[in-house]
Amino acid sequence: MANVLVVDDVDTYRRYLTLELELQGHEVVVAKSGSEAIAVGVASPPDVLVVDWMLNDEHDGMDVAEAVLAANPSVQVILITGHPSADLRRAAMQQCVTFMKKPFSLKKISEAVDSAAKKAASLQR
């Protein structure tokens, strides 16, 4: 199972993603702002980063993804957002970031995390 960093400024999202991912056997660390996520994610990069795009501080989800990927390029990133603009999709694609539109079901996010975890494991091997 994988180490997952969950970043969202909405506490309900953090709470239920954590509950679900832990139920699936993952190790979950949470961050509620962009700067907190960058600090945590750069210091000890996770296998999978699940990050909301809009974070209500000076760093958005793409900033977090870039910082963590710079620290460890094998990190798998899932970007979640309620506003999937074409620009954002393009930027996400360039960074090889998986995209997920809010709202989503726990089933869907846990499937995405599972496949990202497998990919991370194969890259690290």
């Binding site: 909405v10 309900t12 709470r15 239920y16 679900e20 209500n56 309620g82 809010k102 709202p103």
Partner: protein, 463 residues
């Protein structure tokens, strides 16, 4: 000089009988001095021009001078020439001294110009209500023969769309006094198609100011009109787009939370703490959705809210008290400059408090540190202003401020409903709201309430 003049010169009696005419008459019209003598000028005037010529004579007989008076005069060969007259009466001698110049070529020039123009150019005799001239563009635009206007000068008006007739009619009435006509209207062509027309009319006056002709132009502006309609339609679509995106965003967040909480609880039915938490989140989320729906419904609310006589200053106090905690969170200070002895107004207290609260909230969200609420007695009501020293509003955002769900803080707590709800509340009170930048930065929002006429309860206030 009389014999050499390039203009026609004649002396007539005050009622128009020729006393003497110079040789230029023969050159221009073919009539000799002998043939004209003792004849009345009126005999030579085109029948259609006789009425206005008689009117001109009447003025001359009151001692007024004629300048540039135009009428058609018959030549010896039966054709007509357009003459432009100057005349001076000598009432004591019973004589009129007249000069006339042949301006037929000038008119020809005008016609050539008019006939190659894709605007309708027209000229009307306001006394005889007769069409003097209409250019061929009339046939293209109105799709009716020009000749129909000569037999029925009302023809152009009869073609006007029934919905526009009244408006054009009142414009025509105004024209009776000013001579100026300016209107945009639709016409219905014989095949049922509709064209938009922009028409302008103006008077042609003699030197003494008498209106001898009404002239004007009418052009087909359907293309421009269709473009404008198209643009307005697009603008409305954009507003609806903003509205829809706003609703989606506002509803999606609590909806997402409800979805996750319910799904999570179902998977952990044996963990009481998770289920409790999940139900809490479902409650919070659904309440939030309910509030959003309430706010949306405010835009479709048709009946006016109940209003009672209230003191605006005490509503300001109350709203500011409710806001105190928010102000502290934003490190903002709210100051007051409240006018004493304001008349009481018919207000819905809760709604007006919400309006004031919304303005304070906006000021804080713009980063204001100092907010001042002012009330003031006006000649015809009371004003309430909220001034702040915040970031101000970008000019490009100005036209959209009152649109529901328009926000510059999407995803950062901005719902885009505050100002549009405030606007709705003010409108419901028959008031007005305006937003202006302040010199030196920040924004000033001013609400004006009209003075109350009666202290009756429950009466919808119609301003």
């Amino acid at each position: 000089m009389f014999d050499l003049s390039l203009d026609m010169m004649t002396a007539t009696t005050l009622d128009g009988y020729v006393v003497v005419a110079n040789p230029r008459f023969e050159t221009t019209l073919g009539w000799t001095d002998q043939e004209l003598r003792s004849k009345n000028i009126m005999e030579f005037v085109h029948p259609e021009d006789q009425e206005m010529t008689a009117a001109e004579f009447a003025q001359l007989n009151q001692g007024m001078v004629t300048m540039n008076f135009q009428c058609r005069v018959r030549c010896k060969d039966g054709s007509y020439k357009l003459l432009s007259w100057h005349a001076v009466p000598s009432l004591e001698r019973g004589i009129m001294y007249c000069t006339a110049r042949d301006v037929t070529d000038d008119e020809q020039l005008f016609r050539t110009f008019a006939e190659h123009n894709n605007q309708v150019i027209w000229m009307e005799d306001p006394v005889a209500h007769r069409t003097v001239y209409v250019s061929p563009a009339y046939e293209q635009i109105w799709d009716r023969p020009c000749s129909s206007l000569y037999t029925n000068p009302q023809g152009w008006f009869d073609a006007i769309h029934p919905d526009d007739k009244e408006r054009v009619e009142s414009e025509r009435e105004a024209q009776q006094h000013t001579g100026i006509f300016n209107a945009e209207y639709r016409i219905v062509r014989p095949d049922g198609s509709v064209r938009w027309i922009r028409a302008r009319g103006f008077p042609i006056r003699t030197a003494t100011g008498r209106i001898t002709r009404l002239a004007g132009m009418a052009e087909d502006v359907s293309d421009r009109h269709n473009l404008e309609t198209h643009l307005r339609h697009n603008e409305r679509l954009a507003t609806i787009g903003t509205f829809a995106a706003g609703v989606a965003h506002e509803i999606n967040n609590p909806l997402g939370a409800i979805l996750l909480a319910a799904e999570s609880a179902l998977k952990r039915l044996d963990e009481r703490s998770v289920i409790e938490l999940a139900f809490q989140d479902v409650l919070v989320g659904t309440e939030r959705c309910g509030r959003i729906v309430d706010n949306i419904l405010k835009f479709s609310r048709e009946e006016s809210l109940e209003k009672h006589p209230a003191e605006l200053n005490s509503l300001v106090d109350h709203a500011a008290n409710l806001f105190a905690r928010r102000a502290a969170e934003h490190s903002a200070v709210v100051g007051f400059e409240l006018a004493a002895d304001l008349p009481s107004l018919l207000l819905n207290e809760t709604e007006v408090e919400q309006a004031i609260y919304n303005l304070l909230e906006n000021a804080c969200n713009a980063g204001a540190r100092q907010i001042t609420v002012r009330t003031e007695q006006l000649a015809e009501g009371v004003s309430l202003a909220v001034d702040d020293d915040g970031a101000g509003i970008a000019e490009a955002d100005m036209p959209h401020l009152f649109e529901p769900f328009f926000t510059t803080r999407r995803g950062r707590g901005g719902s885009g409903l505050g100002l549009s709800i405030t606007h709705g509340i003010v409108a419901d009170h028959g008031g007005t709201i305006s937003i202006e930048p302040r010199a030196g930065g920040g924004t000033s929002v001013c609400i004006q309430f009209a003075a109350t006429r009666a202290n009756t309860h429950k009466e919808p206030y119609d301003g």
